[in-house]
């Protein structure tokens, strides 16, 4: 009987090792361990054994059963892994085939830039204020210290609706509307369309966008203006950005400045990109003229403030290296798709 058990064990081990499929393995289980299986058949003969032999054979039989059971379970695990591996292998795809892209649109590059600028100023506590594009001469010029026949009006070729109504040449008009309505402290930016009768070419458009900024409070200094502009340019162009201020003239600010950014290409040495100047003019700014404050009912002896105006097209063209302003208004899909 002992020999029989050993023989069963050997045969089972051999057959298990050769077993390559789940159904074969099930047949083996039935063959050895099933109710009519070989091991069961032997155990049934246990009754005929002597009292001495019974525990020994019993133990051996249990060992053999355990071995076979373990063998089956081991084999089952192995078969499962093989199967899984085989399946994974079969499911292999070419991951270099193109992905299925989602259809989304894009914002116009002017909007992308404007949104960035708005975020910068919102973070500095500037509200975004809008005003009419068809504007009275008063808000566009008179209240900005540019009475009729002021020579500075020449620098802003104006579209007229009638003697008193114009298409605004600058968003500075919103400064006045804001100061008339709101008491200081005031911190606003005012983005929007402005109009000048310039014929269309690569750098001119009769419609373009400006972002006007205005801060009015007690104790606002020109140093605050310098600091604010530097922060703006660094946030917009990165920490390496260097600016310089140059005295200039705007009728509505005093002192007035133009702000240049050091040319990224030549770092101030002068190159064709910056027309050999080393710097690129980027915006105009200054301390709000006392006459302008007075005109809006703000006492210049108590309050001071600064204002600045940024050309959105210039900033946008600079950051994307767009060389022709007309592209911005042609709206060709091949252009719009690039941003």
């Amino acid at each position: 009987m002992k020999e029989q058990l050993e023989k069963i064990r050997q045969l089972a081990e051999k057959e298990l090792a050769e077993c390559g499929a789940a159904d074969v393995l099930e047949n083996l289980r039935v063959k050895y361990l099933g109710k009519k299986g070989e091991l069961t058949a032997i155990l049934k003969q246990m009754g005929g054994l002597s009292a001495e032999e019974r525990p020994i054979i019993g133990q051996l039989a249990n060992e053999v059963r355990k071995t076979i059971e373990d063998g089956i379970s081991e084999r089952a695990d192995a078969l499962k892994s093989e199967l899984a591996a085989k399946k994974l292998k079969e499911e292999t795809i070419d991951v270099t085939l193109p992905g299925k892209t989602q259809t989304v649109g894009k914002l116009h590059p002017l909007t992308v830039t404007l949104n960035d600028i708005k975020e910068i100023f919102l973070g500095m506590g500037f509200e975004v204020v809008e005003g009419p594009e068809v504007e009275t001469d008063h808000y566009c010029f008179e209240a900005l210290n540019m009475p009729k026949h002021h020579p500075a009006r020449d620098t802003q070729d104006t579209f007229y609706i009638n003697d008193n109504v114009v298409l605004r040449t600058q968003t500075s008009s919103v400064q006045i509307r804001t100061m008339e309505k709101k008491k200081p402290p005031i911190r606003i930016i005012s983005p929007g369309r402005v109009y000048r009768s310039d014929a269309v070419d690569a750098t001119h458009s009769p419609i373009f966008h400006q972002i006007e900024g205005l801060v009015i409070d007690k104790g606002i200094t020109m140093a605050d203006l310098n600091g604010t502009l530097e922060l703006l340019m660094k946030r917009l162009y990165g920490e390496d950005c260097k600016i310089r201020l140059r005295p200039h003239h705007f009728p509505y600010t005093e002192p007035s400045a133009e702000v240049d950014m050091m040319c990224f290409n030549c770092h101030g040495e002068g190159c064709p990109m910056c027309k050999n100047e080393g710097y690129i003019e980027i915006l105009g700014a200054g301390m709000v003229h006392p006459k302008v404050l007075e005109g809006c009912g703000i006492d210049p002896e108590v309050y001071s403030g600064f204002a600045f105006g940024i050309g959105l097209e210039r900033i946008t063209m600079g950051r994307y290296e767009i060389n022709d302003l007309r592209l911005l208004y042609e709206n060709d899909m091949r252009f719009l798709g690039q941003f």
Binding site: G105, L122, P206, I207, A223, G227, R246, H248, D332
Partner: protein, 805 residues
């Protein structure tokens, strides 16, 4: 303002300063350099030569062969040059472009053979050197420049660089002078700025002249009739003038300043204008009728033929210089042709006057002639500068030996001479600038600019017409201290800000559009009135009432748009023409709607446009639906529309494929397929779809806050119904009926099929809905659901719709 550096050096010596340093220094102190240029920089290897012999070319009847002595440039040997010019003779001194030389406009000269005879360079004309006969009046325009020695100039040396020989080597610096600084439109003004910037000494000498005896009052009478428009008029007389070209040094300076030399008297007035910044005028005294000068307003309809030969009709708000009978000049703008300086002029009147800026500006504009003089006067000039300017002119007359200056002058002076002191308060300035500049330094800066500081006041020199208030003084201090030396600080005080509801709403709309694949466009807000025809607006459409630009660039941009649709159509057309196969675009932009008041309304619109791919009406409608859902607008209705009274742009769309969008009875948008005629008008060769949504009005309907509904606890009951109804019945009616009939247990009703065809009777359609019902109080029973369906069928019956058999 073009500045001759040679001229500037008369007043302040900066000849040793690198030009780059000069330009950057002045730019940063407020006089922005636009450009700088060295005369003759394109010319190289052109030298002074002397023609030793000129003999005819053996193979040509129009060429000559010259032996030219070019001194050391030819290593002591004469060189041979063949030329076609006919004005050359042995002994002539000429400019010689050597082999390998360069000339203006990129011309390069190489030796070669002309009809078999070797030529080692070229003899140059004035034009080839970039000059004209205005620069060298003794030379001819077409022919070789035969050089002549001129008084006061060093003699020519053979082999000498031509630029040095003829003084074509000045450096010109072009400044952008802002309108508040007419004082800087002068050599002396820029010398003052140079002095203040670099702290080098500068000297302005008082002009002197000897003069001859004579009483000007016996020659001339001056009356100012409008002292407001002419605060000062000084007249002087020069007798026995000799009209001739100016000497070379004067011509050189004018040329470097961008002014064409004419003759000594014209040149003197221009010279003084450039040097002192004060325009002058010269008359021929013979043509001043009655020997009187009246500064008066013109009479309406009075005419004058100005120096440019044009007859101008004047009006009474224009100021003129008139003799006893007629205007002889438009004050501060241009002189009359008749009284100008001619070759036979004997006695000359010099005018040095001051006119009101606004008046000159308006006059020059009305007459359409801006001149160098008017450009200066209109900015407002200093009446006190008129006197030294005239003295300088006299000095030049004597220096040039071209006339006898009558010592006495007429000075009609009504100008205000009280010095304008402006508050000077160092502490205020520091507080204003955010600086800590010592008072002594501030005073030093101001004094360098010729200000006087006394008793808490700063007195600007009278030429500084721009100094009016203490902020102006702060600017003077700041610019000499250096704008870039002012600290950079952060604004004190806490402030928080956020976008307005309107701005947030617009941003939501554009985010929604972008997320659905639409690309944003930016278009002009002015259009042509003809575009209203292109989009088929009826002749009486209210949208044809526009804000009109009186001085447009062209008809295409002459009215402010009252509809955003033409702009969208144009962009669709442009993309179609560029062969972009498929586009989906949107714009958020304004319309400009006259409202009877001074300024129009500027409501904000969303326009959407698309073509290509497999797009149809339902794509654009679905896009609008999704956008409305994303921005919180629910329960909108779409109604078929062909009536422009319902929505003004209805006629732009296909009459069978257009819907107005409304909520609570208010129409806020239109969507549809563009009318075939519109497509044709724009040259769009495919079906295209567009929509316009009135965002300003829509925003009122949007629910900003969404309220959470608990997740359902009980299962839903669904019933699918196929309904047969008239083909023409809009499905929106069926939907309404279903909603009404099911009542509050309705969760959703979804259309999943529309069928027309064999199984359905002619003129009918089958519409399939899936109705989902749910109660929050318990599981719906079959009986409840079936009862709801019964109610639906009853309701549908009223529409003539029934369950499909």
């Amino acid at each position: 303002m073009d500045l001759s550096m040679r001229w500037l050096n008369d007043y302040i010596d900066v000849s040793d300063m690198p030009i780059k340093e000069f330009c950057s220094g002045l730019t940063l102190s407020g006089s922005k350099v636009e450009r700088r240029e060295t005369e003759g920089s394109e010319i190289s290897k052109v030298v002074v030569g002397k023609l030793l012999s000129v003999v005819p070319h053996e193979n040509s009847d129009h060429l000559v062969v010259c032996q030219v002595d070019v001194g050391h440039a030819g290593n002591g040997e004469p060189i041979q040059i063949v030329t076609g010019a006919s004005n050359v003779n042995a002994g002539d001194i000429v400019p010689v472009a050597m082999d390998g030389s360069t000339l203006p406009n990129g011309v390069k000269i190489k030796k070669g053979k002309l009809r078999g005879v070797e030529s080692n360079g070229m003899l140059c004309s004035l034009g080839e050197l970039g000059l004209t006969t205005h620069d060298f009046p003794y030379a001819i325009a077409d022919g070789i420049f035969i050089m002549q020695e001129e008084a006061g100039c060093p003699p020519f040396e053979l082999g000498q660089d031509i630029r040095e020989a003829i003084g074509l080597n000045d450096t010109c610096v072009e400044f952008e002078i802002t309108s508040n600084r007419p004082d800087c439109m002068s050599v002396i003004g820029l010398a003052r700025e140079t002095h203040a910037t670099f702290d080098r000494p500068y000297t302005v000498k008082t002009p002197t002249f000897k003069g001859i005896e004579g009483d000007i009052n016996s020659m001339l009478k001056v009356t100012i009739h409008n002292q407001k428009l002419c605060p000062r008029y000084i007249a002087g007389v020069v007798k026995n003038v000799k009209i001739a070209p100016s000497p070379r040094w004067l011509r050189e300076r004018l040329r470097a300043s961008g002014v064409r030399p004419i003759n000594n008297f014209v040149d003197i007035t221009n010279y003084v204008m450039l040097e002192y910044g004060h325009p002058m005028h010269a008359f021929d005294i013979r043509y001043i009728s009655g020997s009187e000068i009246n500064i008066r307003n013109a009479k309406n309809g009075e005419t004058i033929t100005t120096l440019d030969g044009t007859e101008r009709t004047l009006s009474e708000n224009m100021l003129v210089i008139a003799d006893a009978e007629k205007p002889v000049a438009v004050a501060g703008v241009m002189g009359g042709e008749y009284s100008g300086i001619m070759d036979d002029t004997v006695d000359v009147v010099f005018e040095s006057a001051c006119f009101d800026g606004a008046s000159v500006r308006t006059t020059a504009k009305a007459l359409g002639m801006r001149t160098d003089a008017s450009a200066r006067f209109e900015k407002g000039l200093d009446p006190q500068n008129a006197y030294p300017a005239l003295m300088r002119a006299f000095e030049l007359v004597e220096m040039l030996g071209c006339g006898e200056v009558v010592k006495t002058i007429i000075d009609a002076d009504y100008s205000d001479k009280t010095p304008k002191g402006v508050e000077f308060n160092a502490e205020w300035i520091n507080n204003f600038l955010g600086t800590d500049i010592p008072e002594a330094d501030m005073i030093k800066y101001l004094e360098k600019l010729d200000f006087k500081v006394e008793n808490g006041k700063a007195y600007a020199p009278s030429v500084r017409i721009d100094i009016e208030c203490k902020a102006d003084i702060a600017e003077e201090v700041a610019r000499l201290y250096g704008y870039n030396n002012i600290p950079k600080t952060i604004i004190r005080g806490v402030a928080e800000a956020q976008l307005s509801e309107k701005q947030k709403f617009e941003r939501k709309v554009s985010t929604a559009m972008v997320s659905m694949g639409a690309y944003e466009i930016t278009t002009y807000s002015f259009i042509s009135p003809k575009y209203f025809d292109k989009i088929r607006l009826p002749a009486d459409s209210p949208l044809r009432n526009t804000v009109v630009i009186t001085n447009p660039l062209g008809e295409d941009t002459s009215v402010m748009r009252t509809s955003v649709l033409p702009s969208m159509c144009e962009v669709l057309a442009r993309n179609f023409n560029s062969r972009n196969p498929e586009v989906c675009l949107f714009e958020i932009g304004s319309e400009y709607i006259p409202n009877g008041g001074e300024l129009p309304d500027e409501p904000v619109r969303l326009s959407v446009g698309m073509y290509g791919g497999k797009k149809d009406f339902y794509d654009i409608k679905g896009m609008i639906d999704t956008m409305l859902d994303l921005v919180g607008v629910e329960d909108v209705e779409y109604t078929a529309c062909t009536d422009t009274a319902v929505f003004a742009e209805a006629s732009t769309f296909h009459p069978g494929r257009c819907a107005v969008i409304s909520k609570n009875g208010k129409n806020f948008g239109i969507v549809g397929e563009l009318h075939p005629e519109v497509l044709e008008n724009y040259g769009i060769g495919t079906k295209a779809y567009a929509a316009k949504i009135n965002l300003t009005e829509l925003m009122e309907e949007a629910t900003a806050v969404k309220v959470f509904k608990p997740l359902p606890k009980f299962p839903a009951a669904t019933r699918d119904l196929a309904i047969v109804c008239d083909e023409a019945l809009p499905v929106a009616e069926l939907r309404k009926a279903i909603k009404k009939a099911v009542g509050n247990i309705l969760e959703s009703v979804t259309l999943f099929d529309v069928y027309k065809g064999k199984q359905i009777a002619e003129g009918k359609k089958s519409v399939a809905y899936s109705i989902s019902m749910r109660s929050h109080d318990g599981t719906l029973t079959d009986e409840q659901a079936d009862a709801a369906v019964k109610r639906v069928l009853k309701e549908l019956d009223k529409l003539g719709a029934e369950l499909r058999a």
